[in-house]
C-alpha cells in the first residue's frame, strides 16, 4: 500500500461523459493487479476519498475511468494536467486467474469496464482466450476502448452490437470476470455462480478499519469490500441485501 501525491498526466474521452484520467504513480503502477482499486483524495474536495478500480497501468502511470456522477467526480474532471491527486493504493483483492482456465469472458456494464483492461492484459499474458463483452444503454455510452481476442458489444436500445445486456450477450467461458451495477452482477450470479465479480459499495477508509463497505454474504454476516473484496465469487454474495444504487451524498 502506498500513499502518493500523483500528478495528472493526461485525460481522454472514451464515451459520452466518460473519461480516463492518467496519473504518475510509479509505486502503485508497479504493484497493482487487475481488480484492485485506488482511493483518491483531492483538495478542495469531499471529505472522504473516492474508490476507483485501476483501469490501466503502464510503466510508471496508472489510469482510472470515471463519469461526472456527483460533485466529487465533477471536481476530478475539472482538474488539469499537472494537478495532484492523493492516491492511496493498490487496495483490495483483485481477480484470480489461476486454476488453469483456457478461456475467459470479461463482462462489463457501463463504468464496470474499469477493471477490464488490466484483466485482459493479465489474461492474455497467461495465454487465455479473451472475450471482451461490454454493454451500455446506447452506442454513445459504450467505452470505445476494447481488448481481447473477440469483442462483443451490447446496448439496451440495440444501437450497437447485440440488443440486450452484456450478461445475455456473453458466451460461456471457463472463467467469467464481471463488473457493473450490482443489479447486473446479481444477473451474473444467476447465470454463472462461479463468476468473479467486482462489487461497488459505499466506502469510508478503503483500508479495512471503518467497516463501512460491508458486503452481505449468503453464509451470513458481512465482510469488507476493501479488504476481502472487491472481487467475490458471485454465489457468495447475498444480492438481495447489497444496495444497488450508490449516489454519493455530498451536499455542500
Amino acid at each position: 500500500m502506498f500513499l502518493l501525491d500523483a500528478p495528472i498526466t493526461g485525460r481522454r474521452q472514451v464515451a459520452r461523459g466518460m473519461f480516463v484520467l492518467a496519473m504518475h504513480a510509479p509505486e502503485i503502477a508497479g504493484a497493482v493487479r487487475a481488480g484492485q482499486f485506488v482511493n483518491l483524495g483531492w483538495s478542495p474536495g469531499p471529505l472522504l476519498r473516492r474508490p476507483f478500480s485501476v483501469y490501466g497501468s503502464e510503466g510508471e502511470h496508472i489510469e482510472v475511468v470515471l463519469k461526472a456522477v456527483g460533485a466529487g467526480t465533477s471536481e476530478l474532471l475539472a482538474m488539469e494536467v499537472g494537478d495532484r491527486i492523493s492516491c492511496l493504493g493498490p487496495l483490495g483483492r483483485g481477480f484470480d486467474l489461476t486454476g488453469g482456465p483456457k478461456t475467459v469472458a470479461l463482462v462489463s456494464g457501463g463504468l464496470g469496464v474499469a477493471p477490464m483492461p488490466l484483466a485482459a492484459r493479465d489474461a492474455m499474458a497467461a495465454g487465455l482466450h479473451v472475450t471482451w463483452v461490454h454493454g451500455a444503454r446506447a452506442a454513445a455510452e459504450l467505452c470505445a476502448e476494447a481488448h481481447g481476442d473477440v469483442v462483443v458489444w451490447a446496448t439496451d436500445d440495440g444501437s450497437q452490437g447485440v440488443q440486450g445486456t452484456a450478461v445475455t450477450a456473453a458466451p460461456d467461458a471457463d472463467l467469467v470476470l464481471a463488473c457493473g451495477p450490482n443489479r447486473m452482477l446479481a444477473a451474473v450470479a444467476e447465470r454463472w455462480p462461479q463468476a468473479q465479480v467486482a462489487v461497488e459499495t459505499y466506502m469510508g477508509c478503503g483500508t479495512g478499519v471503518c467497516l463501512g463497505c460491508a458486503v452481505p454474504l449468503r453464509r451470513g454476516g458481512y465482510d469488507r469490500a476493501c479488504k476481502e473484496g472487491p472481487v467475490y465469487r458471485a454465489a457468495e454474495i447475498d444480492w438481495s441485501s447489497l444496495p444497488s444504487h450508490l449516489p454519493y451524498a455530498v451536499g455542500a
Binding site: 500500500m1 500513499l3 483524495g41 469531499p46 471529505l47 472522504l48 476519498r49 492511496l88 459499495t201 459505499y202 466506502m203 469510508g204 477508509c205 478503503g206 483500508t207 479495512g208 478499519v209 471503518c210 467497516l211 463501512g212 463497505c213 460491508a214 458486503v215 452481505p216 451470513g220 454476516g221 458481512y222 479488504k227 441485501s241 447489497l242 444496495p243 444504487h245 450508490l246 449516489p247 454519493y248 451524498a249 455530498v250 451536499g251 455542500a252
Partner: protein, 304 residues
C-alpha cells in the same frame, strides 16, 4: 530542542498527546502507513461480550464536512479479541485500551473482568452510548445514574485505568461528567458522535439502512471543542478531546480548551498518516512558541 510531548492520563504514562479513536483504527493491525512513533495510545474498535454481525449496508454516508456511520458495533466478541489481538498488543510499545460495550451494567462489568489481567490490555474506554436493554433501551450515557452505574460496574472489576467516552446527545454534559467521575472514572473522552440522519431524495427514505448514524468529521469540531471544554470545567480528572480533529491546529484547540490529550478518528480514514501529522504539528507549534513541554501550553479553563 524538541518539546516534551509526554502526558500522564488516568493512570497511564503516554509518550504523546495523540491517540487513535475507537472505531477508526480497527484493532491496530490495519493501518500500515502510520509511523507508530507518534501514536500515544490506541483505543480498540468497540467490543461486546459476544460477536456481533453489524448493521446492513449502506452503513456510511458522506455529509458536508463529515460522515454518518451506522456500523452497529460489528465485532468478533471478547473471546476472539483475547485470542487474536491482545497477544499482538502485548508486543507493541504503546498502550491499547479496549472500548467496551454492553446491554446492561453487569455486561460491562463482565467484559472488564474477562479482560482484566490479559497481557496487552492496558485499560478500558467505556462506551456509554449504548441502549440499556433492561431499561427499555434508554441510553446509559443520557442518564447520570445509568452512566454512573456502568462506570461503577467496570470500576469494581478492574484495577486498570477506566476512561468513559461521553455522548454529546445530552442537555448538560457536566452532569454526566461529574456522575462518572464520582463513580470512579480515571479520565473522560469527550465526545462520541452526534446522532444524525440523511435522506435519499430518490428513494424518499434515509440513506443509511439503520435510519440514523453517528456524525463525525470536521463538521462537528466546534461542537466537540465546546463539549470537551464543558466537561473539563466540570471535573478534576483529565479529559481527552475527540471530535473532528484533522490537523494539529484542531488538536491544539482541544488542548487549550482544557483537554489533556486528544483522539484522532475520521481523519485517519482520509489520511492514514493523520495521527503522525497531528503529533508532529503539535510539536512544531510548541517549539515555534518557545515551549519546552506540552504542559507549558496555556489553557483556557476557568473553573465553574
Amino acid at each position: 530542542m524538541t518539546a516534551d510531548m509526554s502526558v500522564a492520563i488516568g493512570g497511564l504514562q503516554l509518550r504523546g498527546p495523540v491517540m487513535a479513536a475507537s472505531g477508526t483504527f480497527g484493532y491496530g493491525t490495519e493501518v500500515p502507513l502510520l509511523e507508530r512513533r507518534a501514536l500515544a495510545a490506541m483505543v480498540s474498535k468497540g467490543i461486546f461480550l459476544r460477536p456481533r454481525e453489524g448493521t446492513a449496508p449502506p452503513r456510511i454516508v458522506e455529509t458536508p464536512g463529515g460522515m454518518l456511520n451506522a456500523i452497529g458495533l460489528q465485532g468478533p466478541g471478547v473471546e476472539a479479541l483475547i485470542r487474536d489481538y491482545a497477544p499482538r498488543w502485548a508486543e507493541w510499545d504503546f498502550p491499547v485500551l479496549v472500548n467496551i460495550n454492553g446491554e446492561s451494567a453487569s455486561e460491562y462489568g463482565e467484559l472488564a473482568a474477562q479482560l482484566d489481567g490479559v497481557p496487552g490490555v492496558a485499560g478500558f474506554e467505556i462506551n456509554i452510548s449504548c441502549p440499556n436493554v433492561e431499561q427499555g433501551g434508554l441510553y446509559f450515557g443520557n442518564d447520570p445514574h445509568a452512566a454512573a452505574a456502568v462506570t461503577e460496574a467496570v470500576r469494581k472489576r478492574t484495577k486498570l485505568p477506566v476512561w468513559v467516552k461521553l455522548t454529546p446527545m445530552v442537555s448538560d454534559i457536566g452532569i454526566i461528567a461529574r456522575a462518572v467521575e464520582s463513580a470512579g472514572a480515571d479520565a473522560l473522552c469527550a465526545i462520541n458522535t452526534f446522532v444524525g440522519m440523511s435522506i435519499d431524495l430518490n428513494a424518499y427514505r434515509p440513506r443509511l439502512s439503520f435510519r440514523t448514524g453517528g456524525l463525525s468529521g470536521p463538521a462537528i469540531r466546534p461542537l466537540a471543542v465546546n463539549l470537551a471544554h464543558q466537561a473539563a470545567r466540570a471535573v478534576r480528572i483529565p479529559v481527552i478531546g475527540v471530535g473532528g480533529i484533522t490537523r494539529s491546529e484542531d488538536a491544539l484547540e482541544f488542548l487549550v480548551a482544557g483537554c489533556a490529550a486528544v483522539q484522532v478518528g475520521t481523519a485517519t480514514f482520509v489520511n492514514p498518516k493523520a495521527i503522525a501529522d497531528v503529533h508532529d504539528g503539535i510539536a512544531a507549534f510548541l517549539e515555534s512558541r518557545g515551549f519546552n513541554a506540552l504542559g507549558e501550553l496555556p489553557r483556557y479553563l476557568p473553573r465553574d
